[in-house]
Symmetry: C2
Subunit: 353 residues, 2 copies
């Protein structure tokens, strides 16, 4: 346990954030860390570049006649800043009453390392009874855009009898087999109403305000009460939810008190569906970032000229594309076109299904 | 002209932002700069502390029997960052085709320096025919909260036959006498829906999103089309606008093409009133900042737990207080109370009237 925690502490401290290019040094530091750990333990390690952030492949070969298990994990994490509600520095492992806290502990450095460490120990003690191949990637948090191509190109290298995904959930203390996740993509919507921020005293009341215009669009796109998407066609391609699925999901133990306590939320939205159906079988849309004007200390009384929002769409069929959403939502923006609009939809992927 | 521009270049380079405490060193640098300039020119200079940022008083006394003119200006500026649409570094004077550009050039270092420099030259050449007292403050951009008390305490020091405000406007090339400005105050509205940002895949659809909740409140507070305030009572205490005022304002030359060209706006809102009536006699409300979630490079698919907006209210009677708005707007937030709300109204009140 001590040895595992020592390793976890090391890898947690590496800020391997994949969405922001300024963390590239940390991404490469993480790759080096896994390479050294796995090589030292006796694995054949290969670092494969040319597919966004490097892939790490590590083979523990016991006997070619035995079957092989492929284990998938990812070493990249989402950004994290202590200001955002963390009770301690997110890139420093904190152990408190048998729980460990840090960015990446549950997504996914912690679980992947459990599998890596268990295999290392079994291999060291000659107790490994199958061959094990680890596949670690560094772009899971940006949607694994190169993974399908990588798997196709490297199919020989990845050949296995069984694949295990380290990156999964547990319901309470019940292990689960996950059949799939929602797909998704991200968009940025930017509104520009003037060449630069204008004096609120001199222009206030006559000049359009980018923040006002942006939130007007957003509240048209997303129903305020149900959080449902008001874009024509958005729900058209959604898979039908069967009675069996609903019945099955309802039978999964769910503790709404724990769910609220852990997250700090006061209500669960859309209670007509159980949480597993809502988060697993229905699409959702989330504003993941919004920014306009001055947000520093004190006040700057300018009318913002630019406002932008990052929007995440979780869909249930990858046929719902960015283009469709773009076309539909631009129809809502007729008024905005009068005041100058920049609508930038950046579609990244769609993968998990 | 060269000497004036040299001085303007120096004072522009001092980042005397009053709203953000981290600029205090620059505030004191500006005070020192004026003190040295005015002392060197032969004025009796006094720096008065104890009223927020220091006041600078400088007296050019020609003859006690002559009348005295008091000139007001301010040395503080609003924050500025090149990212926000500036075509060059805002704290560095740029001269381009007979125009000068920089933060503070028109609000208010430029005009105040025109008056200071003109008086310095006249004094130097023995051409000053009246006594002149300069009063420079460093909290105009945060609403001059200490100015009324300062004027009361220091009335003897400020005694004058005539007061000139350096900080004013020109309509086209026509000088104007301004009878007053709207008052105003700033508020911060913060919504909290969870203890920390939640995974959009695991919680998306069941957990409330602070950004969605905030924009829902904001669109309830402010009409999307007219930008009018939907807070009961907000317009109750507004001064009546007389037909004479409307007639007078309509007679002021106004060039809507220039107004649009200079600001880059495409439409002028609320065209039922002329621009001077709208910006001078009617209240307005502006979101001056909004922030939630992740706004860095790329995407972080978290459901924001916290969202906040800075709101500027320009009112026409100071009797409309922050408290009243707070009470009224909280009534709109009943739904929000179910999901946890933090409403922080910071009133800084104000005075210009």
């Amino acid at each position: 346990m001590d040895e595992y925690l020592k390793l976890l502490r090391e890898i947690i401290a590496i800020r391997s954030v994949s969405t922001d290019a300024s963390y590239q040094t940390e991404i490469h530091k993480a790759v080096k860390w896994y390479k050294e750990l796995l090589s030292r333990a006796g694995a054949e390690v290969e670092i494969i570049s040319g597919y966004d952030n490097p892939f790490v492949i590590a083979k523990f070969l016991v006997d070619k006649s035995l079957s092989t298990c492929l284990v998938y994990g990812h070493y990249d994490v989402q950004p994290a800043n202590i200001d955002e509600g963390w009770t301690s520095e997110p890139f420093s492992l904190r152990i408190d009453d048998q729980r460990v806290y840090a960015r990446g502990v549950v997504d996914n450095k912690g679980q992947a390392l459990i599998h890596i460490y268990s295999v290392i120990r079994a291999f060291r003690e000659n107790k490994l009874s199958k061959n094990v191949v680890f596949l670690l990637e560094g772009n899971e948090e940006t949607g694994s855009p190169a993974l399908p191509r990588f798997i196709k190109d490297k199919s020989k290298l990845l050949k296995a009898d069984l694949a295990l995904i380290s990156d999964g959930e547990i319901v309470g203390s019940t292990p689960v087999i996950e059949a799939g996740f929602r797909g998704g993509f991200n968009s940025t919507l930017q509104v520009k109403t003037a060449d630069l921020d204008l004096h609120s005293g001199i222009y206030g009341g006559t000049a359009p305000n980018a923040a006002h215009e942006l939130i007007t669009i957003l509240t048209k796109l997303i129903d305020a009460k149900t959080y449902k998407v008001n874009i024509p066609g958005f729900y058209e391609d959604v898979d039908t939810i069967t009675d069996d699925q609903l019945k099955n999901n309802k039978s999964i133990p769910f503790n709404s008190k724990d769910y609220k306590d852990i997250s700090g939320i006061k209500v669960i939205l859309n209670e007509e569906y159980d949480v597993y159906t809502q988060t697993g079988l229905l699409p959702s849309v989330q504003i993941t970032g919004i920014s306009s004007g001055y947000n520093g200390q004190g006040y700057r009384n300018g009318i913002p000229a630019v406002a932008s929002a990052k929007i995440n769409f979780s869909t249930c069929k990858i046929t719902i594309g960015a283009k469709k959403l773009q076309n539909s939502s631009e129809n809502l923006l007729i008024r905005l076109n009068q005041v100058m609009l920049r609508s930038i939809y950046k579609s990244t992927i769609l993968m998990k299904e």
